[in-house]
Symmetry: C2
Subunit: 219 residues, 2 copies
């Protein structure tokens, strides 16, 4: 398939992707037609097929780029010379920031695995597995160094990913908390979940001790 190059072609392709993600997130992949998508962007259906020969090509491209983007963002931010707790914080922080900025794309990626062909599904699942392996490795390193206490690294990795991806279900940046505040709270929950002693826990316990001491002096 010939691909239109140059800035107009690129703009059209970007507009098509954006419209596709938005339509699919609102109506579901099966309910969105190529005709409807072309109309949304204001191109002929024939032009759309030049970029994406089938609707599934389009879905696969969206889901592949979502996962490649997530893995790329992690590769750029991951600290290499750091302990497990610091690496876990970086992983969770990157995961939340990436997904909060891509609500529709996350929605489509999580929901429409059912709509991929077996071959494309295998490709996406391999990307997911390689991403999850990064987290499992951090958890295993934490268990080995005694920094974490984890019963099952596989289950714990899934639990953390589900928990932090879930932020996009309810979080709206204009509400009472900023992305940074939400991330901070999720970081300390994650650290507690893996049995790491967090600064917050230490702070709270220290505060409690101070109160106890004050009462002792007053008494």
């Amino acid at each position: 398939m010939a691909r239109t190059t140059g800035s107009d072609g690129e703009k059209t392709e970007a507009a098509l992707r954006e419209a596709a993600v938005s339509l699919m997130a609102r109506h579901g992949y099966e309910a969105v037609s190529m005709r409807q998508l072309a109309a949304e962007v204001g191109v002929q259906a024939a032009a759309l097929y030049r970029y994406f020969p089938t609707k599934e090509d389009l879905l696969f491209t969206l889901m592949r780029e979502h996962m490649e983007g997530l893995i790329g963002a992690w590769e750029e931010t991951r600290p290499l010379m750091a302990g497990p707790a610091e690496r876990l914080e970086a992983f969770v922080g990157n995961h939340i920031r990436f997904h909060v900025a891509r609500r529709h794309s996350t929605h489509v990626s999580n929901m429409e695995l059912r709509s991929l062909s077996r071959e494309n599904l295998t490709h996406i699942l391999r990307l997911r597995t390689s991403y999850e392996k990064e987290l499992r490795q951090i958890l295993r390193d934490g268990v080995e160094t005694g920094a974490f206490l984890v019963d099952d690294t596989g289950l714990t990795a899934m639990a953390i990913i589900q928990m932090v991806t879930g932020v996009i279900v309810w979080f709206r940046p204009d509400e009472r908390l900023s992305v940074d505040e939400v991330t901070e709270t999720y970081l300390s929950m994650t650290l507690r979940l893996v049995g790491a002693e967090t600064k917050n826990i230490k702070n709270s316990r220290e505060k409690r001790d101070v109160h106890a001491f004050d009462e002792f002096r007053a008494g």
Copy 2:
């Protein structure tokens, strides 16, 4: 609308619900037609409209009964005279058992809020809020008695619900773990997440101390 009563009518209605949940989980609400649903169950489309005047009535009924079922299951199992940790374990156990047994229905309930009318959406969100309040109350009680250490009860409640609902994304009962084993692991993750001292943590720390002691005696 007249509703067919008696055992045949009830059987048809149950078959329609089951088929609707399964079709919607696989294809998405918008992509499933009433005609397709009637054909799946082997009734005339006209008969289907006697039970559910519109497709959205059907979706609303499925989502309302899902939430009422979840709240009902919790009301039956919740321990009234128990501490926060025990109540939290009961809540998480009930939540996992209920959702693992209703994968399709959970999928539809989580995905298709977008397809409800404003009035029906408000009704479903009220049911969700009343369910989540139960968890927030447990967390608050735990903080008050000093059993839990939680930074933000609202965020923590959402995190726990997302984490444990996520079990249905990957869990298949015929794999390496049983529902009970998975539940057990999620219970101890949840207790750690809220800063409760769990038996598992204590056991592991005791085991570690035993090793240290053995080494001491050997040395």
